[in-house]
Symmetry: C2
Subunit: 327 residues, 2 copies
């Protein structure tokens, strides 16, 4: 929920002269997106999203994100497509920030996902993984297992402010995840790495688009599956809903079958995925700047999810068969 | 910059069933509006604004605001028009809040108003004053002179935290404004009472709409003029721009001539108008709740404006003749 940088009509109009989308009719800052400033534009040509990339996003990564969206859209994935300006570029400068315009996707993100939504996101995630196979660029995942210790170190001394014993809990889990158990030979590819419900649009129960590729990177495809299990299959009372998990995993597997090694690794990957979001949320909540316009997300939600995943013995606990997924 | 209440797609879709605007395609929280939660809606029928009225707005005042917009729009004023639901009502309930849908106005608000913008707002303000003459409802201005002492009392003890001597400065000014000098016999009518640049849209230099009537009330029409002088005619370095003031006042007077008494009272009204916004900003800045998603506006901007207005001898200091405004 943020607009960090405001833009004057004059500078925006000048920026838009570089694009073939007609006169500016209106623009509104959108109360969505934590990393960037986003505006909804109306021009004579239609509706668009203007993104100003703030400093939390490394400028060197922007071509990766923009070319990835272009690639995925060209391969039939419903995701925003960056507009080319009159010189063929998708990235410009506006108000001192790197800026891009993407087409607007209709649809609403599900505040309370049901099993049909989970099936939709499972199918779309698998299709995205397949469409990403021949994408020529790559980007390391800075928030995989090697990136967690620095986050823990920066937050450990104050972790117990949130919950008594949290520091020891996180320290023990991190020791476990770092003890050479993290998988290394699972199928790799482009992952979204942040496919939470607010990044997936639906019209009714039909998925209409996937947005926000600012965490996309190369990593194990099954790690993306694990992130979604945590993000989509828990209820607001923190219980795990196996019906949703089964719908998600079956829909994924119908597009791209999970290997035996991926299925076996999934509970461990889900522990790691829970740790990753727990740690970044913990760092964020301990470092809310004065006057922040963003309400940090609750780290304790992910403490509960991590505890659940610690108790998962096999993929059967997610409601599907270990030997292969039943449609 | 705020969305206080989120809305699920299901409850919004149910709410929209009461209106004849077709299927919901998307909705985005807008980072504008301090008092309410605003969403930009796309439906099969077009683009709309959905407002959820939060608790700072008295529910009993909502029919006044909605009927006023309907009245003004019917009298040719470019302002949002509340949609009637299938039972003819403009006000419903959504997510536990009173809610209304208004049509969307294209246009952008001027971040750096020029003289042409000031002329545009002068003309539109006068037309709005004329269009409001036969509006049958009325609403007292709770933020006129009688409302300032309670605001001062609630903030006085901490005023010097912002600027040394601010408490004494405000106390002396308030004593002055309360000493039976506040005008009582000037022409009254419906005033907007908050016509800042972010509430006025332009397409190029042509005014396309006036929005946000949540402070509208009955008061002296010239007080609305005074509010705009403060809001539109100062530069970002706090200097007063007489070219803009002249453009604003001349454009206003071409639609509705200011009487001699109104012209004489204008500097005093501008002091009062500066005091009103200074006090509410001061109270707001001293009472920012933890986790607030709104960045409070700077009270000290209005200290400077108040000091300027204290030095104004007559309307001639605004760049126009005291005896009548020259076009």
């Amino acid at each position: 929920m943020a607009v960090y940088t405001d833009v004057t009509a004059d500078e925006l109009a000048e920026f838009l002269e570089g694009y073939d989308i007609g006169e500016l009719l209106s623009y509104k800052g959108i109360a969505e997106g934590v990393e960037n400033s986003n505006f909804l534009l109306h021009t004579r040509a239609g509706t668009f999203i203007l993104t100003l990339y703030e400093k939390r996003v490394a400028k060197g990564d922007l071509p990766f994100f923009l070319k990835l969206m272009t690639h995925l859209a060209a391969h039939g994935i419903d995701c925003p497509q960056p507009l080319k300006d009159n010189s063929g570029k998708t990235l410009g400068m506006l108000a001192g920030r790197p800026a891009a315009i993407i087409n607007f996707l209709e649809g609403v993100w599900p505040r309370k996902p049901n099993a049909a939504h989970c099936a939709g996101v499972g199918q779309a995630l698998a299709k995205m993984h397949l469409a990403g196979r021949d994408f020529p660029m790559s980007r390391a995942n800075a928030l995989s297992v090697a990136g967690w210790r620095p986050l823990f170190d920066s937050a450990a001394s104050r972790a117990d402010e949130l919950q008594h014993g949290l520091r020891a809990f996180l320290g023990a889990e991190l020791d476990h995840l770092e003890s050479n158990i993290w998988p290394e030979n699972l199928p790799q590819g482009i992952i979204h790495a942040d496919l939470f419900p607010d990044n997936v649009f639906f019209l009714g129960e039909k998925l209409s688009g996937i947005i926000d590729f600012t965490f996309a990177c190369n990593d194990m495809l099954a790690y993306d599956v694990a992130i979604c299990l945590n993000a989509w299959c828990f209820e607001s009372d923190h219980s795990f809903n196996v019906t949703k998990a089964r719908a998600f995993l079956n829909a994924y597997s119908r597009e791209r079958e999970l290997s035996a090694a991926e299925r076996e690794a999934l509970p461990l990957l889900a522990r790691g995925a829970a740790m990753r979001f727990l740690l970044t949320r913990l760092v964020d909540v301990l470092n809310v700047p004065p006057g922040a316009l963003v309400r940090p997300k609750d780290p304790l939600e992910y403490v509960r999810k991590l505890r659940f995943q610690q108790g998962v013995a096999s993929i059967r606990d997610y409601g599907v068969e270990a030997s292969g997924l039943v449609a």
